[in-house]
């Protein structure tokens, strides 16, 4: 490569620089295209105003605003005591009596109530400072974690549990099969491998209707594996992940020299001991990578989870986030953004840190479609 650059260098240099500038410009524009949505969602998550239309690229600095009384009145009740989180759209802070009538003083913006200056029964004059309201970069996250109607933490835990168990089972079961395909020679081995590959052409997402109906029937008798359960979902995920992972793992097992297990066998180890004591530890780093990728894939799966999980309590994170998108998206934009960032973090970290392995896997034509 460097040699042919040298040949050209002499006469083509000035044009090259212009070309280079254009190339860099294209890449910069590409990076803006690639990153703008990410920057935008980060900024939305940090913006204390939850709605879409009041968003700017740089979220406003946290500030404390002193709220003044508009009319004279008497404080009847403190609905939101110091430290409580209030939303402009829903938060009543003080109940007061003005001109003999009961009135609710609502939050002028999203934030935390601080420093209420009156006690119940105190009267106040127009223009008198009632309380402070202070915003925070993290208020959307606070709302996200503490809204009973949308139990985000529960969803997050569900997702983590489902993805952990699934990836563990996938690795364990497929490693067993891969060892057999790699180490034994038996009749029908080739056809079986081909069959597994063939079946895998149909992702089980396609058969969602059949899977739904099947789990419905199973759930009539074994509720643990029925609709709406993590058990059923895990079973579906694990079953669907067999094919591609058996092939992937078999490749790794093939790369371990057979001399190792043969010498172990000579020493009197059975197959199980050879597998468990020798081969398994040897391929463990690869198994971890497969497990992590399987974790990410399961964590991000949305379609089957949405079909099979109907109750809010059993939802996974992606199904829960979908709930934000489908109702009142524009109003809950900031909260959704906070949830989206937390939901994206595991995948983002894993993909960016495993970049080189994934590139290697991709060029071999596997991993993610």
């Amino acid at each position: 490569m460097s040699s042919h650059v040298k040949i050209k260098r002499g006469n083509a240099r000035p044009a090259f620089t212009l070309g280079l500038a254009i190339q860099i410009a294209i890449l910069v524009i590409a990076v803006i295209f690639a990153l703008f949505p990410v920057v935008w969602i980060l900024s939305a998550a940090l913006n204390p105003s939850q709605s879409m239309n009041s968003q700017s690229v740089v979220p406003p600095l946290p500030e404390t605003r002193v709220v003044l009384a508009e009319e004279a009145g008497v404080l009847l009740e403190i609905a939101a005591p110091n430290g409580s989180r209030v939303e402009r759209s829903a938060g009543t802070i003080l109940l007061v009596e003005v001109d003999g009538e009961r009135e609710e003083l609502r939050a002028p913006k999203n934030g935390y109530v601080r420093n209420i200056r009156l006690q119940v029964g105190d009267s106040f004059a127009p223009g008198e400072a009632l309380y402070d309201i202070s915003s925070s970069y993290l208020i959307n996250f606070d709302t996200l974690f503490n809204t009973e109607r949308k139990p985000y933490v529960r969803w997050l835990l569900n997702s983590v549990a489902v993805a952990t168990i699934t990836s563990f089972l996938v690795v364990m079961v497929t490693a067993l099969s891969a060892y057999s395909f790699s180490r034994f020679r038996f009749k029908g081995r080739r056809s079986l491998l081909m069959l597994i590959l063939l079946v895998q052409v149909f992702p089980n997402l396609l058969a969602m209707v059949a899977i739904f109906l099947m789990l419905q029937q199973i759930g009539n008798h074994i509720p643990f594996f029925g609709l709406n359960t993590a058990g059923g979902l895990i079973l579906v995920y694990v079953g669907g992940a067999m094919g591609i992972n058996i092939w992937l793992m078999k490749g790794f097992f093939d790369s371990v020299p057979r001399d190792i297990d043969e010498s172990a066998m000579v020493d009197g180890c059975g197959h199980w001991q050879t597998y468990w004591r020798l081969i398994f530890p040897l391929v463990r780093p690869v198994l971890v990578v497969v497990g992590i990728l399987s974790f990410v894939g399961t964590f991000n799966e949305f379609v089957l989870a949405r079909v099979l999980l109907r109750d809010k309590e059993s939802w996974t994170l992606m199904v829960g986030l979908w709930g934000y998108i489908s109702d009142n998206f524009a109003r809950d934009w900031g909260i959704f953004a906070a949830g989206a960032i937390i939901g994206a973090i595991p995948t983002l970290i894993i993909y960016l840190s495993l970049q080189d392995q994934i590139v290697g896997g991709l060029t071999q034509g596997s991993v993610k479609g």
């Binding site: 969602i41 149909f202 997402l205 396609l206 209707v209």
Partner: protein, 528 residues
């Protein structure tokens, strides 16, 4: 049969404690599995869910054979994977075929046997049956009981499961406050509890007593009796016969009236015929099909082109911070698709989104990204480009690096221009490596349900589709989803499965073509 490497070793070690333990574990595991499977097969057979009963029986039988026969030892290692695949991948495919040949859907959700089981539980108060007055009792556990008074001053006490005549009480005397651990409820309590108690059936299986009205209770009788010789259900209350009609999956009498619950019945190719004959299905389906192909094609071409362009730019060693550029450019790939689509959906939002606002601030009316079919499709393709180009950028980078550089040098010696080199050398070499991935990407996008669903749930709706829930941006798989689960109109699992089968056939065709094209079978066979 199998060429086990150290056959003799296995036999020798069979007598060690270790292997006895292992054998015991195998038998125990199998016993537990068999017990569970047996239970499932039994209950599914009772329900008439034969397909599941048979599948589970077959899978369990195979697992047993594999684990008990020494000559199938290598398959033992694979048996868990095979069982899981059999139940969760192979069976659903076969089951989809079966469902597509039935009327499975709302109104026909249960097997005939399940419907009969339900009907057998229904009771009625026959005319001329014995009628009692009732008083409600309750015990400490919360169970209700009825004190019954017939017109002839006979007293009876009916609990859940028992019925007895009470002889202790003189005619006309007050009812006891406590009886056999049951306490008489006062008027108010009785009124409140009566709703719950009305649902219950008191007395024994032969003599069922139920509350019929505010004052009356009566002896209930089974309402529907199945007559297997006539394959009909006899309604004792209306004394008419409802014959099983397998065309519609209903029990139907001579006047055409049907029972409330229908059953699943085979309707042959009816669902497939509907594609052709019903204009409300065939019209939208043709358009959905065209859009599915168009969407997949444009997505593949656009992501590949942009990905290749970036990969080519990255080739240039004079560009500074190439590694950083690469990392930043693959960020879209590292974000879950659903979240990415949602972010874009927010940015394109007509009134409030940042992109729409930016366009509006230029004095241009922002396009209706979610209302107009054309702009919706544009939005989806734009998002899919953002989602998909990093994949091809990575793939092309790898493939470009693999092209030997002396080929370029030779071309330069021949005086080839940049375009000639790209056109005659880079592209063909690249396509050989990336071609299969292009086809794989096509089939992936063919079923790219997430982006369609998250963007606008297939909308805007197609007006021509009438009551069927088709949308302008629906692809086949999302349309099948909508038919099955898309609320409102009621589920039509049969039609949805028929569409799924069409997708199966198309995907299988494309994959087969891919294997033909790339001689994939030979390659994979070599790797085996």
């Amino acid at each position: 049969m199998a060429t086990l490497l150290p056959d003799s070793k296995v036999k020798r070690s069979e007598f060690s404690t270790r292997s006895i333990l292992r054998l015991a574990a195998t038998y125990l595991g199998l016993a537990v599995l068999d017990a569970m499977a047996f239970y499932l097969v039994y209950v599914f057979a009772l329900d008439g869910v034969w397909e599941l009963a048979i599948t589970i029986a077959v899978i369990t039988l195979l697992v047993n054979i594999i684990n008990l026969r020494q000559d199938l030892y290598p398959l033992r290692w694979i048996s868990p994977a095979l069982a899981l695949m059999g139940l969760m991948v192979v069976f659903p495919i076969i089951y989809t075929v079966y469902v597509s040949l039935t009327n499975y859907g709302d109104g026909n959700l249960l097997t005939k046997q399940q419907v009969l089981n339900l009907l057998a539980r229904e009771t009625y108060l026959p005319e001329g049956g014995k009628v009692y007055g009732w008083d409600l009792y309750q015990n400490a556990a919360g169970d209700y009981a009825l004190w019954l008074t017939d017109g002839d001053d006979g007293y009876f006490f009916a609990t859940l499961g028992d019925f007895e005549a009470v002889t202790l009480l003189a005619a006309g005397a007050d009812l006891p406050e406590d009886y056999q651990g049951y306490r008489r409820l006062d008027r108010g309590e009785s009124l409140r509890a009566s709703r719950e108690a009305q649902e219950l059936s008191f007395g024994t299986a032969e003599l069922q007593i139920g509350i019929a009205g505010r004052k009356e209770a009566g002896e209930f009788a089974q309402r529907y009796v199945y007559r297997s010789d006539e394959d009909a259900v006899f309604d004792k209350q209306a004394s008419t016969l409802f014959y099983a009609n397998y065309e519609t999956g209903q029990f139907e009498n001579e006047n055409g009236a049907t029972l409330r619950t229908g059953f699943i019945s085979g309707t042959g190719l009816k669902n497939y015929v509907r594609f052709v004959t019903s204009p409300a299905i065939s019209g939208p389906l043709a358009r959905i099909f065209a859009w599915t192909i168009g969407f997949s094609l444009v997505s593949v071409v656009s992501t590949f082109t942009v990905g290749l362009l970036f990969a080519l730019l990255m080739q240039n060693e004079r560009i500074p911070y190439r590694k950083a550029f690469r990392t930043l450019l693959i960020v879209p790939y590292a974000i879950p698709a659903l979240i990415s689509v949602a972010i874009w959906k927010g940015m394109l939002n007509s009134n409030l989104g940042v992109i729409s606002n930016a366009i509006a601030s230029l004095g241009i009316q922002p396009p209706p990204f979610f209302i107009d079919p054309g702009w919706s499709k544009f939005g989806i393709l734009l998002i899919n480009l953002w989602l998909g180009y990093p994949y091809f950028m990575l793939v092309c980078s790898g493939a470009l690096a693999a092209i030997p550089s002396d080929m370029y040098e030779a071309a330069e010696v021949d005086g080839a221009t940049w375009w000639e080199k790209f056109h005659a050398l880079t592209l063909p070499m690249l396509l050989v490596a990336v071609g299969p991935l292009l086809i794989a990407s096509f089939t992936f996008n063919f079923n790219n349900f997430v982006i369609i669903e998250a963007y606008n749930e297939g909308g805007p709706p197609m007006v021509e589709s009438g009551t069927l829930p088709a949308g302008h941006t629906d692809i086949l798989i999302s349309y099948a989803y909508r038919l099955a689960f898309g609320g409102g109109r009621g589920a039509d699992f049969g039609l949805a499965s028929a569409i799924t089968i069409i997708i199966f056939v198309l995907v299988a065709g494309v994959t087969l073509a891919q294997f033909r094209l790339t001689k994939g079978w030979e390659e994979t066979s070599e790797n085996v």
